[in-house]
């Protein structure tokens, strides 16, 4: 019993010395490194995006983002697969749960459209303001979560979710391939005109791609949430 208590402490203490060395000798840089200053100088002429982080994620590292979205899709698929054998029968779904209450139900009816709108705002403005597809998608999924909390017996159509998810993913890849044909490379945003700097229809394909990412992420998170919610309570 004592070794069981001691081993974590020793490991954490060893890690602590490493972290303390890192922490005490850390001094922040005075200027940006080479990569970061390239992004700082070239983002606006090359992509036309105000938000440099968005430009990096969607254009400079677009392939990584495609991979990231694929990982999320795999997660949603595996969660669905792992939990599919224990699905609650839809007749007595939310089995035996108490009703969620007047306050939550009325609140959800009022808030869900606003949350969905806010999510859409965040992913459409990803190239201008903080936010983007992943954040907006998470906000959209939080509206789904609120609906699930307000009415645990409600079932979202898995068919609709997977249709949104797969068509957004397919369009994302097609946009990338169009970049290969009409612009500099895979997922190049210059297949559309760069537009006026700072307006909503600017930065080429970045808003379009981020809307697709937002829809895809929102659909994936919703599918994870519904899979988790639909599992039956174990007796």
């Amino acid at each position: 019993m004592t070794t069981r208590m001691a081993i974590p402490l020793v490991l954490v203490a060893l890690l602590g010395t490493v972290f303390f060395a890192l922490f005490s000798s850390y001094t922040p840089d005075a200027s940006l490194n080479l990569t970061a200053s390239y992004y700082a100088d070239q983002t606006v002429p090359e992509t036309g995006a105000q938000n440099i982080v968005t430009a990096i994620i969607v254009t400079y590292r677009g392939l990584d983002t495609l991979g990231e979205v694929t990982v999320l899709f795999l997660t949603a698929a595996i969660v669905g697969l792992v939990l599919s054998q224990s699905k609650a029968p839809s007749a007595h779904a939310g089995a035996g749960g108490l009703p969620s209450g007047e306050l939550l139900q009325t609140g959800a009816r009022m808030l869900v459209p606003v949350i969905l709108l806010f999510g859409a705002y965040v992913f459409i403005n990803g190239h201008l303001t903080p936010g983007g597809g992943f954040q907006g998608g998470a906000i959209v999924a939080s509206a789904m979560l609120l609906m699930l909390l307000a009415d645990p017996a409600e079932r979202f159509s898995h068919g609709l979710i997977s249709k949104i998810e797969s068509s957004a993913g397919l369009t994302y890849v097609i946009l990338g391939l169009l970049g290969l044909l009409f612009a500099g490379g895979f997922l190049d945003n210059k297949i559309l005109p760069l537009g006026t700097f700072g307006s909503i229809f600017s930065a080429g394909a970045i808003p379009l791609i981020y809307v697709l990412v937002g829809l895809k992420v929102g659909a994936e998170f919703s599918s994870i949430l519904t899979s988790l919610e639909e599992t039956e309570d174990a007796e």
């Binding site: 890690l15 922490f23 990982v71 992420v217």
Partner: protein, 119 residues
């Protein structure tokens, strides 16, 4: 203490708490929560490393484009952390799903009841 040091210290402290919790708790759900705390700490450390004192967020709405390189913080760690958060969520969802399956298989969430892979 400067802002960078505070965030670095908080991040490291969260990593500690998370790792210690994951190593010392026997309940699988508590371990999952501990991993989430540790990954939050890692994200905080990464963002703190990208911060340069006195600079602003890498969004060029008020900062003129010509002086961007002198006035913004490093955007690369922020992009990395965005990725890390999303992958962290995926990992958490997978862990929760597996924890549910384990609970259905044994009726228990105590890690000492699962000894098949113990050496």
């Amino acid at each position: 203490m400067t802002l960078v040091q505070i965030s670095l210290a908080t991040g490291f402290a969260l990593i500690f708490l998370g790792l210690y919790g994951a190593l010392s708790n026997r309940n699988i759900l508590r371990m999952i929560v501990s991993f989430t705390i540790a990954s939050t700490g890692v994200n905080l450390v990464l963002v703190a490393v990208g911060y340069l004192p006195g600079r602003e967020a890498p969004i060029l709405d008020t900062i003129p484009v010509a002086s961007a390189a002198e006035r913004i913080t490093d955007p690369v760690p922020q992009a990395l952390v965005l990725t890390a958060i999303v992958i962290g969520l995926g990992v958490t969802a997978l862990m929760l799903a597996y924890a549910y399956r384990l609970f259905r298989a044994r009726g228990s969430l105590d890690i000492s009841d699962f000894t098949e892979l113990k050496w």
